[in-house]
Amino acid sequence: MALRIIAQFIMLFSLLFLPWWVTALCGIVFLFFITSFYEIIFWGFLGDVLYGTQITSLYNFSYLMTVGALVLFVLMQYAKKEMRLYEL
């Protein structure tokens, strides 16, 4: 539980003050170490709300980080089930 709370603070800090790829990296690490880290979808959404703009080449779509977080969440849930390392 403590790790989960610390993770939220780290995600907020990195989202506000650090490059986006650091936030993405933190998200992946927390997805791996925290059971069902669904908060990542919220952080992705917050990133879009703060910085998002319509991307012309993606038919003016502006929720890239939310979708990215959602895809990461689903992929990591699946990957964790398949990993022997995670069972240990």
């Binding site: 989202l15 506000l16 003050f17 650090l18 490059p19 986006w20 069902s36 669904y38 979808i41 919220f42 959404f45 917050l46 990133g47 709300v49 703060l50 910085y51 998002g52 703009t53 991307i55 012309t56 080449s57 993606l58 502006s62 929720y63 890239l64 980080m65 939310t66 959602l70």
Partner: protein
């Protein structure tokens, strides 16, 4: 079915429900522009104090960093900067005269391009997101509106105000990936369409016969002199009929501290 299995199933159902609710909420917000904008405005207002704090802290750290430099380094830096300032002052004097003359002539011909400039602090730089956007600490209450042009160093056009809340505004850079803008290149004013590549970089494709040199100025096809970038590299293979021109803003977007918003 034992208690542990029941617990696991309940947990899965709850997680599934939460995910589904989040998805429905997101689809609703993504589909409705006004509610999305309302949320965005509220969040931007809420996070502004954090960014102001960051700016204050980094400024203090910069001052503190100055104390740690050696005296010799500071003297050397001071000398080199003084000579550079002298050189630039001379250049600026002649440039100001030309600009004044240019403005007078435009006014004489009834084409004045004067618009009010508003100094703004950059609270969030483009590297914070994959969108290539800037956040400024000025908003509706300062007279900023959607579509206002944003300049670095008063002359280099960097983007347009895309969203405005009470005292924060979001700037979409011209260099945002996928953006297309009409530009003119060099002294011949060759017209072309530039494609944003992110981080202040652009790409233009032109027939090989068109004479473009590295260092040529790229500007907007307008009566005012708004610089967009400088040609950095020209790529052309002997077998190609087109040349690719790579250019970038003469300012580093990640080091920008202040910008000017030209209010329409």
């Amino acid at each position: 079915m034992d208690f542990r299995q029941q617990y696991k199933i309940r947990k899965k159902v709850l997680l599934g429900f939460l995910l589904a609710a989040t998805l429905v909420g997101l689809v609703f917000v993504m589909g409705d522009a006004s509610s999305s904008q309302k949320i965005s405005n509220k969040v931007l207002q809420g996070t502004l104090p954090f960014w102001r704090g960051e700016n204050f802290f980094t400024e203090k750290m910069r001052v503190f960093g100055g104390f740690l430099l050696s005296k010799k380094t500071l003297i050397q830096e001071n000398q080199s900067l003084s000579s550079r300032v002298n050189m630039l002052e001379v250049q600026l004097m002649s440039k100001n005269m030309i600009v004044e003359e240019n403005n007078d002539l435009k006014e004489l011909m009834g084409r004045s391009n004067f618009s009010e400039g508003l100094l703004a602090t950059v609270v969030s730089k483009p590297n914070r997101s994959p969108y290539d956007t800037l956040l400024l600490d000025v908003g509706e209450e300062h007279g900023v509106a959607t579509g206002d042009k944003v300049f670095a160093h008063d002359e280099v056009a960097i983007g347009l105000i895309e969203e405005v809340s009470q005292n924060v505004s979001r700037v979409k850079l011209f260099s945002s990936p996928g953006e297309e803008i009409e530009v003119t290149i060099g002294s011949e004013h060759v017209g072309a369409v530039a494609h944003g590549q992110g981080g202040g970089n652009f790409e233009v494709s032109l027939p090989r016969g068109v004479d473009i040199q590295e260092g040529d100025v790229i500007s907007f096809p307008s009566i005012s002199t708004e610089v967009l970038g400088i040609v950095e590299k020209i790529q052309a293979e002997a077998s190609d009929s087109f040349q690719t021109i790579l250019f970038k803003n003469p300012v580093n977007m990640n080091e920008l501290h202040f910008v000017v918003v030209r209010i329409k």
